[in-house]
């Protein structure tokens, strides 16, 4: 029997052994701590799948129904576990199906390593069967990518891939391995993890001068305001962030991807930023005197019109990626570095304060928003249900302990606005790319990444139909994912814009759906459809108490709008309540 057919248990054998490139790859994954792979086999990746057959006890391979589902699952896994998501796909169409997920992971800084099969090296450039120039297709949407044509390269390249994916500002990495390299036997010297690449500096050096300057600005501020993003979560700096907030007494608001870094109920958590964020955080961005941005990148959905964004404020920007500093908003003090390091340095230098009056200003705005928007959204008197009341009811049952995975659109904004988060790594959504179809596969991955937690996917009727084939993955793995479809029989967010800005010219937003509950039952997933709010608490309890997955379709009012809203081209201060 060939050595390659055996599984190597030690990372560094004392004497070199002959193994195939495929075995070297799987050994590398084990040393990197990989336990789950999301993938789909095909011709050009068959040698890797053949080797995988013998690694079944060490690597849990999840057969998805589409490669896009595979990478979204990898993203969901990475977001809840904090580890690197691993995805396998074959060449050609398998690899091109990853592109949406790569772009999503790139813009949302999600650590993912994709392994794609490629045709034999001697066939490269010949338009061989299932040959695509995957490296060039994926270059703009990966942090790094590399094509392996010789098995000898595999250990070093995989080590680099994991190091690059997870270090600094994380991101997706794609390694394309030609079939000959997967088969080729080579002298395997063991696997060593990478912790340095000459040309790559994952984090800039922290300069104490800027920490000092930032602390002075914060100490002098009368109306300081903290806005934080996913950087706090990616840097595992939740404790450091909380310590900073608690000592400084500064009101803090979050971007969609930053949600949950500190609990929703924290007294200084004043809510969500951006287009559909809360009233106070948006308006008061243009009234604060010092704006402290932590691990966020001033996305246009957060800033609204840039030339009217926080012009009165001095800006302190903490970010690990130097290219983000001054990219959209000019900083007064740039604090380059990992916020896990910079926040404690800052906390040490700032004075303990309570900005009671300033915090009250936020609360006053919250009251206005409650009266104008929130109360009716959460306690509607209309015969049809609202999305908000479903989230509210869910909060009451899960008590904010669940992982909420959302798709893209109205339901996403409503869920992010109203869902309660007690724990970090609880809000999984497609923020930057806005990928419809993200939620179902991401929820599957999220559950594999956090098996002891409840995962609830909240999805619109449009987005669900983009990746519903992953119900097959749920069926086959028996994974426990609770699915709530908020069905308004419209592509709601586009409809809302058409209503507000295109004189109700509802152009192709009227979408029909199959009977989702029957569909789920075809996949042996129990489900229910409700349109009466009286049933809501009982059916949510039933869903959460059901062992295994459950699909709940909630019929909600057709033409509800998400408010508040900062219309495109308007400043954050021009946020509309209706």
């Amino acid at each position: 029997m060939e050595v390659a057919q055996e599984t190597l248990t030690t990372p560094a054998p004392t004497t070199a052994v002959e193994v195939s490139g495929s075995v070297a790859l799987l050994e590398a994954l084990i040393v990197e701590g990989v336990d789950t792979i999301f993938g789909y086999p095909g011709g050009a990746i068959m040698p890797i799948y053949d080797a995988l057959f013998d690694y079944n006890d060490k690597l849990n391979h999840i057969l998805v129904r589409h490669e896009q589902g595979g990478i979204h699952a990898g993203q969901g896994y990475a977001r809840t576990s904090g580890k690197v998501g691993v995805v396998f796909a074959t060449s050609g169409p398998g690899a091109t199906n990853l592109v949406t997920g790569l772009a999503d992971a790139q813009i949302d800084s999600t650590p993912v390593v994709c392994i794609t099969g490629q045709v034999f090296a001697h066939l490269l450039g010949t338009d061989a069967f299932q040959e695509t120039d995957v490296i060039n297709i994926t270059t703009p949407v990966t942090k790094w990518n590399y094509q392996v044509t010789d098995a000898n390269e595999i250990p070093e390249v995989i080590a680099k891939a994991f190091y690059i994916a997870k270090s600094g500002r994380p991101g997706p990495v794609l390694i394309d391995i030609t079939k000959n390299a997967q088969i080729q036997k080579f002298n395997y010297q063991g696997y060593t993890q990478c912790n340095h690449i000459r040309s790559y500096r994952p984090k800039p050096i922290v300069r104490s001068e800027y920490i000092q300057e930032a602390a002075e600005l914060i100490n002098q501020a009368k109306k300081p305001f903290v806005i934080w993003g996913q950087g706090v979560i990616l840097g595992s700096a939740e404790q450091e962030f909380k310590a900073f907030i608690d000592k400084s007494g500064i009101p803090a608001a979050w971007t969609v991807l930053g949600a949950g870094a500190i609990p929703t109920e924290h007294p200084l958590n004043v809510g969500m930023l951006g287009m559909h964020g809360n009233y106070g955080p948006n308006v008061l961005t243009n009234e604060c005197d010092v704006l402290i941005a932590i691990g966020m990148r001033f996305d246009d959905r957060v800033t609204g019109r840039l030339d009217k964004y926080a012009k009165q404020a001095k800006v302190v920007h903490l970010d690990i990626d130097p290219a983000e500093i001054d990219k959209n908003v000019k900083s007064t003090v740039p604090v380059w570095g990992d916020c896990k390091e910079t926040l404690p340095m800052l906390t040490k230098l700032i004075e303990e304060k309570k900005h009671t009056e300033w915090l009250n200003t936020f609360n006053e705005y919250t009251q206005k928003e409650v009266e104008a928007v929130i109360h009716d959204e959460l306690n509607p008197t209309s015969p049809e249900m609202t999305m908000g009341e479903v989230i509210k009811q869910l909060n009451e049952i899960t008590k904010g302990e669940a992982i909420i995975v959302t798709d893209v659109g109205q339901h996403q904004m409503v869920a992010c606005r109203y869902a309660k988060f007690n724990k970090t790594r609880s809000n999984v959504t497609s923020g930057g790319l806005g990928t419809m179809g993200f939620a179902l596969p991401a929820a599957i991955g999220a559950k594999f990444g956090a098996q002891d937690r409840t995962v609830v996917a909240i999805i619109g009727d449009g987005g669900f139909q983009m990746t519903l084939q992953e119900l097959g993955t749920i069926m086959q793995t028996g994974i426990d994912v609770k699915i709530i479809i908020l069905n308004n029989r419209f592509l709601g967010m586009v409809r809302q814009w058409q209503e507000l800005f295109n004189e109700r010219r509802y152009s192709f937003v009227d979408i029909q759906s199959p009977d989702f509950v029957t569909l789920a039952s075809a996949y042996k997933i129990p489900g229910k459809r409700i349109d009466d709010r009286a049933e809501l608490p009982a059916v949510l309890n039933e869903m959460l108490n059901t062992k295994g997955s459950f699909l709940l379709e909630v019929m909600v009012t057709k033409e509800n709008n998400v408010f508040p809203m900062v219309p495109q081209g308007c400043s954050v201060a021009e946020i509309r309540l209706k």
């Binding site: 590399y146 094509q147 912790n195 040309s199 050096i205 300069r207 130097p322 290219a323 001054d326 990219k327």
Partner: protein
Amino acid sequence: MSNQDIEKQEFNITVYTENQIGLLTRIAIIFSRRKINIESLNTSPSEIDKIHRFNIVITESEEVVRKLVRQIEKQVEVLKAYYHTNADVIWQELALYKVSTDVIAEKVSVERLLRENGARVVVLRKDYTVFETTGHREETDNLISILQPFGLIEFVRSARVAIIKDSEGFNRKLREFERLEPGEEVIENEYLNQGEKVFTM
């Protein structure tokens, strides 16, 4: 002309990189994604073995160039990227001109032409002659206009190569990169370098 156009000027971007297949694409798409034209691109070895050097010329405002350079430097295989105005670099472009030997011999005072344009003859054959000149854009352009009336058969100009006036080379910096933990003396932050003549990020 808008204000933005007025601010625009030629910038020379110098990038020190590992020698990696695909890196050219990675750098090129940083420009093309923003619909910025690369006017000149040269890759060559650098003063250090196995480290390559890109010279890129674009016309943009300094603010845009600064952001582009940061995006370039963010690429895994890029060691360092700098930008300079034309005044901050010594730069040259090389041009070749092919003309009919008969025409040239008959109608032009070749000696004067060579002297006045700092040109030299690279190839002299019965049927054609190839001149070469090296210099700034105006100089190489000038010889085109002189030769054009005599039936310039072929013309080609190289990408620009530029040496940074005020730099001590990359050797010292590279030693820092090769260490796992960069030393305190490494200046990583442009804001601390405002006093220095050489811009470095």
